[in-house]
Every structure is written in C-alpha cells, then in structure tokens.
C-alpha cells in the first residue's frame, strides 16, 4: 500500500515543543480514501482504514504533543475496532505507554475495541512494565501549617554577609520581574496560599496590637491635652501618629517577626533535608520557585495589613477619646477628614513595599545560609528575626526622614 500517493490530511506540529505548539493544517482531500498523517517530534503516525501505525519513538518529550494531536485526529472517528500497529515503533518510555493508554481511554466510547499489535521486544517489555492500571480514586487531603519560633540575639550584619545578600537580592528581584506573568515556574495556587499564610493569619494580632497602642496613646495624652484645653487636638495627634508612623511600623514589625521567621525556617529546613537540592536537580531554580512567590504575596498583603493596622489604631484612639475626653465619633471623624492627607497613604504604600522586600529577602537569605542539622535551622531563624525587625525599624526611620 502506497499511502503517500493517497489523498492526505496532514497535521504537523512544530518540533520546538517548549515554546508552544502550533498546529498547521494542510488539507488536500480528493477521491475515495483519506489517510491521516501526524508528526510530532520523533513520533509519526498514520491512520489507514482501521489501523493506526505508530513509528519512530514515543517518549516523554513527544508524548504530550502526540496525545493532543492523536486525540484531535481521532476525534470524529467512529469505529467498531481500531488496531494500533507498533511494528515500526523503535522505542517508548513510561510517558509514551501512558499516552497510549490515555488515548485508549479517551476514545473508548466511540471505538470500543482497541488492539495493539506487532510491538518489538523492547517496546513490549516496557508496555508490560508500565502498562498497569492507571486509575485511582482520589481522597481529598488536608492542608498543613508550619510552626515558627522566635528568639532573641544580637548579630553583626553588615560586614561578611553583604555580598551574599546583594547577590540574593539581585537574583530574587530579577526573577520577580521576569516571572510576573508566568505561571509554570511556580506552583499552582502558591500565591494564594502564601498570601493567606502571611496575611490572614497575621491580621488578627495586628488589629489587636494597633488597637491597644492607639488606645493607650490617646489615654495618656488626653490628660495633658485637657490641661491645656486642647481636647480636640487628640484627633490630630492620633491620626498623624498612627497613619504616618505607628500603623505601618506595627504591621511591619509583626510581619517581620511572624513571616520572616517562618520563611527562614522553611527554607532552612528545605536545605537541611536536601529539598533544595532536589529542586535543582529537577531543573528548578530554588530562588525562583520558593522565594519569588513569597515576595509577590508579601508585596500584595502587607499594604492590606497596614490599612488594617491604621484603621485599628485610629479606632483604638477614637474609643479612648470618647471615654476620656467625651469626643464623639462624629466629631472625631469630621475632624479626621480635615487632617488626613493623601500623602500619608502614598508613603504607607511605599513603606509596605519596602518592608515586604526586606522581610522576604532577610528570611530567605538566612534560610539559605543554614549549615547542617535541626540546630542550624533554629539558629538562622533567630538571626533572621532579629535582623529583619531591626531592618524594618531602620528603614522606617530612614523613610520618615526622607518623606518629611
């Protein structure tokens, strides 16, 4: 049978399977018989009557394109039986076997009987080895939490670490920009998971702390303000103090303590248990895979936490003003309207982004620095907390100077 001279429906898939798969259609239909020819990378197939001939090799690099293209080609076919001829197939691997079985399953409703024939010994062996049932009932699984530890220690930072820190920072920021719209380099749903981990769990404690501090600040100053008869200025005092300093700082410090330590602990543990090595040998860049999603999540959640912190702090101050100076919420709010500045919001946002970068970079820097064992994990975690809280406070002071 000279199949090349028959009218041919031709599918061709570009060899460059990594940069997308374009499918070009070239069709020349004519008389009685149609033979479909399909080429993907190293795999070639042709469909002749009820027989699908597969030749070349069918391995992991081609199996994906093969299964997509073959499904397309067989989409409209309705037959009592299909024979898959493997005589010319030189080699196959587990992905190839799975692709064949997958195809079989997908077309089973239209083509109930599928037979494989003519496989050489090598191919046959592999089909036997890998051809076990690929079905399973799934059980839903639970999510897990990472515990964290906080400790105290002072540490000299500037000298020996600066170089490593800069290298890491460059790496992280490069990938953070480069991967902004790519999803395949990270894990599905990682952004949401990380955001929840960093944000939602910290929200509660931030609200309580800011409220308490706002409240205490107002109570303590109310006494003096009353002496001068300047009651109403309590609003100015609270709003300015909270919006420009306390709110962002409390959120930053708490996130640095909470998430900074957990980032350091997580990465250090991954290093000690060779998970980082495993990522590398699976062709993944650990910085890109582990750190960048955390940075995205922090950049996104910390501004929200600062807003929460501001609202809680002002609410705390307002309640104190109400109890100790009889300033009603209405008066408080109208006065607040007059003194709020857009500039405060902008600086708060800039602060949040700076804090996010500091916290993630410090945590991962110390995480990657871990030496051996569980003890090392504890040590770098402690160091990371101390350093990232100090850096957050330093950055805050620096920005206070710059923005005023």
């Amino acid at each position: 049978m000279n199949w090349e001279s028959s009218p041919v429906q031709f599918w061709r898939i570009s060899d460059n399977f990594r940069t997308g798969h374009q499918i070009h259609f070239m069709q020349s239909s004519g008389s009685t018989k149609t033979i479909k020819v399909l080429e993907t990378g190293h795999t070639r197939c042709r469909l002749n009557d009820n027989t699908l001939f597969i030749s070349g090799s069918l391995k992991v690099d081609d199996a994906g394109d093969f299964s997509r293209a073959a499904l397309r080609a067989l989409r409209t076919l309705k037959l009592p039986q299909l024979t898959v001829n493997l005589e010319e197939l030189d080699d196959i691997d587990s992905a190839g076997v799975t692709a064949l079985l997958y195809l079989q399953r997908k077309i089973a409703d239209r083509i109930p009987r599928i037979e494989f024939e003519g496989a050489n010994k090598n191919v046959k062996n592999k089909i036997e080895l890998f051809g076990s049932d690929t079905h399973i009932e799934e059980k839903p699984a639970r999510e897990f939490e990472i515990t964290e530890a906080v400790g105290g220690s002072t540490y000299s930072f500037v000298t020996s670490y600066l170089y490593g820190f800069i290298v890491l920072a460059a790496d992280v920021l490069y990938w953070a920009v480069a991967d902004l719209f790519k999803t395949k380099t990270t894990r599905e749903g990682d952004f949401v998971r990380q955001s929840v981990h960093i944000g939602v769990n910290a929200a509660f404690i931030i609200i309580i702390m800011s409220f308490a501090i706002g409240f205490v600040m107002a109570v303590q100053s109310s006494q003096y303000l009353r002496e001068f008869g300047a009651d109403i200025f309590i609003v100015d005092l609270i709003v300015i103090a909270v919006m420009s300093q306390m709110g962002p700082l409390i959120a930053g410090v708490l996130v640095a303590g909470r998430s900074g330590s957990s980032i350091a602990a997580e990465i250090a543990t991954m290093r000690v248990t060779a998970e980082i090595d495993a990522l590398k040998t699976m062709g993944l860049d650990p910085v890109r895979y582990v750190v960048v999603p955390k940075l995205y999540a922090s950049l996104f959640t910390i501004p929200l936490l600062i807003i929460l912190s501001n609202v809680a702090g002002i609410t705390g101050g307002a309640s104190a003003a109400y109890y100790s100076l009889d300033i009603s919420p209405e008066i408080f709010i109208s006065r607040m309207d007059a003194i709020m500045q857009n500039k405060d919001l902008v600086t708060a946002f800039i602060k949040s982004q700076v804090y996010a970068v500091i916290i993630v970079l410090t945590g991962s820097f110390y995480g990657f620095r871990v030496e051996k064992g569980a003890e090392g994990v504890g040590r770098v975690t402690t160091q990371s907390v101390v350093v990232s809280i100090s850096l957050v406070i330093l950055a805050d002071s620096l920005m206070a100077v710059i923005f005023y």
């Binding site: 992991v60 587990s94 992905a95 076990s132 690929t134 090595d277 040998t281 699976m282 062709g283």
Partner: protein
C-alpha cells in the same frame, strides 16, 4: 563499554576536614554500580559532586560524557533532564502531596498535558506499590513509604541515569526485595544506568554489576561484584564476611 560516569582524582573537604581523597572510579552504561562504604565515608559527598551540587575544587568529574565543573548553567539544566535522583532522606517537598511531588519533574521538564501527568504519576506510584498514598502529604507517611515515593519521583521521567542514595535503608525485607526487582527492571527493561549507594548486603548481591568500595574517603576497591567477593583487600573481605557469619547469604555463589 561506554562510561556514563568517570571520576578522576577527586578531592573534597568540608571546612578544613578532608572528606574525599583522590577518588577515582567509573560507572558503565546500562549497569548498576553500587557505591558502598561505612557511614561517613563520603558516599553522599561523591553523589553531590556528580550532581553538580558541590563545586569540584580538585579533580575531574565526567557525567554522560561532559565535564561537570566547567558546564554552563544552561547545559547543566539540560543535564538534569537526563538524571533522576533519589536523595538519602527522600527530600520530598513537605508542602505538597505525594502525587504533586511525583508530578513535579513532569510538570517542569515536559510539556505533557495535566491528565497524562496524573496517569503517569499513578503508574509510577503503582510501580512502587503505593497508589493508596496518592493524596497524602509526606508527613503522613512512614519512613519506608517516603522512600518509595521518593523513588517514584526519581523515575518519573524515565531518566537514562539514576542516582539512588540508600533507597533500601529502613525497608522491610519484602519491600526491599521488590525494590531490588524494580531496580533490576529499570536496568533491564529501560536500559537505565544506575548509581546506587547502599549498605544492604542482600541488595548488593542481588543487583550489583559493579562495586566501588569506599573507605575513609578513598576507593579501596573498584570492579565487578564477583571480584569484590573474592577480593583479598582486608576491609572488603571484612565487609562481605559479616554476612557470611550471619549465614543467610553465602556470598560466593551469588555473583551475577
């Protein structure tokens, strides 16, 4: 026969402590090369050099015909497509389910559709007899189960070159035997070349083609299993005679 790995004059130290000293050996294509030696003799350190995870400071290491230390990052990544690695303690990612762990190399190194990846994952878990662990997290598995999942991940891509660091440690004898059979199958059916670090004498006798015996950071013996069994190097003799005195596996008759 073609060499998949060749190490020449490799030295290594951690801090100031010498760990490897003039290590030379090679592994052949399609064979199972067992690296054995006492705890702390530097086996994992050798593997880490072979994988390019530790820089080669002195000596040379060729893997699949390429000199590892001078390989640009891009080519090293290509190289990783050809290798599967089983790390000593599994090194599964704890934040992911078993299935996601096994799927990882497939997701990141191939362009297979999701559905097909799921099928492959289930098949590989079937090969190590652990389909029921599909949706579990690593922290919910026993030590032996973790090892088997890690093996499933290592062979997810059918890599031509497989490194296993003590996959058998802590397995019960039956699981150990099926692990050995799986390893033999990988060699025979897929032609995978395997570098295996193990202490289990029964495994060594069952699967090894070639043995590299490490003693205090130096290669005390390198050659086919048969020769190792009849070697008169004291450390090697001692190692194999331990089993003889246990008596369940007279080593002489078990060379492959």
């Amino acid at each position: 026969m073609e060499k998949v790995i060749e190490v020449e004059g490799l030295y290594a130290k951690y801090d100031d402590r010498d760990v490897l000293c003039d290590v030379c050996f090679s592994a052949l294509k399609g064979e199972i090369t067992v690296i054995l030696g006492g705890s702390g003799s530097g086996k994992t350190t050798i593997l880490r050099h072979l994988l390019g995870l530790l820089p080669v400071t002195r000596g040379q290491v060729w893997v699949l015909g390429k000199e590892i230390s001078s390989l640009p990052e891009k080519e090293m990544e290509e190289m990783y497509h050809q290798m599967g690695v089983f790390y000593q303690n599994g090194a599964l990612l704890t934040s992911m389910t078993v299935a996601e762990n096994v799927a990882m190399p497939l997701v990141h190194q191939s362009n297979l559709p999701r559905q097909l990846i799921d099928d492959i994952v289930i098949m590989k878990l079937g090969l190590v007899n652990l389909k029921e662990a599909y949706g579990l997290y690593p922290s919910q598995l026993s030590g032996g189960m973790l090892k088997r999942v890690a093996l499933a991940r290592a062979i997810a891509m059918d890599p031509p070159l497989l490194f296993c660091d003590e996959p058998g440690a802590g397995l019960d004898p039956l699981s150990l035997k099926s692990l050995d059979n799986l390893i033999l199958n990988l060699r025979d059916q897929l032609g995978i070349s395997i570098v295996l670090v193990t202490h289990e004498i029964s495994s060594i006798l069952r699967v090894a083609d070639r043995v590299v015996f490490l003693n205090k950071g130096q290669v005390a013996f390198e050659g086919p299993l048969k020769e190792a069994l009849s070697s008169d190097i004291p450390e090697v003799r001692e190692f194999f005679s331990v089993t003889e005195s246990v008596g369940n596996m007279p080593p002489g008759g078990h060379g492959r």
